[in-house]
């Protein structure tokens, strides 16, 4: 992925900064410029909103056929996490044994390497989830 595109999204990717609709109060991650519920009424009223990074696993899947960036980590876990603020985020769960995985388990975000552009390229960092 282009260095510039990753870089622009760093603040939100490192710190889980989404947006909150000033009209209905719904929280979105990744950030949105328009609220899908309030549409035009929300224009100009979407504020940056930092998620605390805590939530629980709604559902998960164990991935055995990995893309090249995750080859070293397979089998690995991808989950949909219900954040305490209500928004749902898809992400990798790390530092967990497969037989300890449970729907409803508490997780929090941490920063990990998500990919790199080869041995000479930029390293990309982002959030992953770890058991609390």
């Amino acid at each position: 992925m282009a260095v510039a595109r990753f870089w622009r999204e760093n603040a939100s990717r490192y710190n889980l900064i989404g947006t909150k609709c000033g009209v209905c109060g719904r929280v979105y991650f990744p950030p949105r410029s328009v609220c899908p519920t309030c549409h035009r009424k929300s224009i100009g009223k979407m504020e940056p909103f930092k998620l605390k990074g805590e939530g629980e696993v709604l559902t998960y899947s164990i991935v055995h056929e990995a893309p090249s960036q995750l080859e070293m980590q397979k089998p690995y876990v991808i989950a949909i996490v219900q954040m305490d603020e209500g928004v749902r985020i898809t992400g990798q769960i790390i530092d967990v044994e497969l037989d300890e995985l449970k729907v409803g388990m508490k997780v929090r975000t941490t920063l990990r390497k998500v990919s790199d552009d080869g041995a000479a390229g930029v390293i990309h960092y982002g959030y992953k989830f770890m058991p609390v």
Binding site: Y14, M72, L111, R112
Partner: protein, 352 residues
């Protein structure tokens, strides 16, 4: 002005390998290695961990404990000998990841195993002179020993962060002194994957000479003796050296016990004294006094005289994991998995 520690945080990757497992691969007596080094296991970073992720986790724990607004941090220095980039600072990524950017200064430090304490000294100077309100100093490493080399039994991963300031101190740094010479006991040339060392040369003229010289200078300056301190933390490349240097200086096994982590997690290099000190801060009480001496090859020692204040009772220590919890959070792996995680296996281009 009193200057010292406002908060601290730490991180240790959860994977562990035992010396017996390493010895089995290289035809070495791992059991004897474990006994000689007094290392029972060492930490290993996961494939998606590096000095940046370790530093960020330690820094975030530091801020969770104290609630200081990261925008008030005027400097972030990260000391390591395993920065992920040769050019591109670790510290700028840490600054962004804790939301301290952009009105601040940052730099990466290198001084073998004492780059973290050098960062603490810099922050003390900047805070003490009034140039910044808070400074964050981090020591972290994911060190490599060449396969089959003696260092492979000890080189491990971990790190700790310190928020340095002049208000709401949990520990006052009474004084710090250093002792530095040109000693080629351990080095790594640019572009080399693994370090080289001077064998026997690493003991007496390097580790012991520098630590005892810095320690004696500090005791003299402060007019103190070893029995005036409740705890002592020494750099710990293995489990044996810190015990021996403590004895040489007149400290007891009881004084160093709380800060001795290498037997369980190996040598975390720039993370070693910062983690040992964090382990002491986890249990320290107001009025207690700590003596800490780091050592970095090449070579130099930084010594610190630290007094715990009443402020430590106010710090929310439970907001981040204790060293004991981090040490106990572990998963043992075999040598093959270790080699894979540490990038010691040659891969096809496609998997890169």
């Amino acid at each position: 002005m009193d200057v010292g520690i406002v908060s601290y945080g730490a991180y240790i990757p959860r994977y562990r390998i035992v010396p017996q497992e390493i010895g089995k691969v290289w035809g070495t007596d791992g059991e004897a290695m474990s006994r000689n080094l007094y290392i029972l296991s060492k930490s290993v970073p996961g494939p998606d961990e590096d000095v940046i992720t370790i530093a960020v986790e330690a820094a975030r724990g530091t801020l969770r404990r104290c609630g200081v607004d990261p925008k008030r941090i005027g400097a972030i220095y990260v000391g390591s000998e395993s920065h992920p980039y040769a050019v591109k600072p670790t510290s700028t990524i840490v600054a962004e990841a804790i939301e301290a950017s952009p009105n601040m200064t940052a730099a990466d430090f290198e001084f073998a195993c004492k780059a973290g304490t050098a960062a603490i000294q810099c922050c003390l100077g900047l805070v003490g002179s009034g140039m910044i309100e808070y400074g964050m100093a981090i020591g972290a490493d994911t060190s490599q020993g060449a396969p089959g080399d003696a260092l492979e039994y000890s080189a491990s991963a971990g790190g700790a962060a310190y928020l340095i300031g002049s208000k709401n101190l949990i520990a006052k740094i009474e004084n710090t002194v250093s002792y530095t010479t040109d000693t080629p006991d351990f080095w790594r040339r640019e572009g080399q994957d693994y370090p080289s060392h001077g064998g026997r040369f690493t003991g007496e003229p390097a580790y012991f000479k520098h630590i005892t010289s810095a320690a004696k200078r500090l005791l003299e300056t402060m007019g103190t003796k070893p029995s005036d301190y409740d705890y002592a933390v020494f750099h710990q490349p293995n489990g044996k050296f810190p015990m021996r240097v403590a004895k040489q200086l007149g400290f007891t096994d009881q004084q160093i016990e709380a800060g001795l982590l290498t037997p369980f997690i190996g040598n975390t290099y720039s993370g070693a004294v910062p983690l040992g000190l964090a382990s002491v801060l986890d249990v320290a009480k107001p009025g207690q006094r700590i003596f800490a001496v780091a050592y970095g090859s090449g070579a130099g020692s930084d010594a610190f005289d630290i007094s715990i204040t009443d402020g430590i009772e106010e710090l929310d220590r439970s907001a981040a994991p204790s060293i004991r919890e981090l040490v106990e959070r572990k998963k043992f792996i075999d040598y093959a998995t270790y080699a894979k995680y540490k990038n010691k296996i040659k891969l096809k281009e496609a998997i890169e």
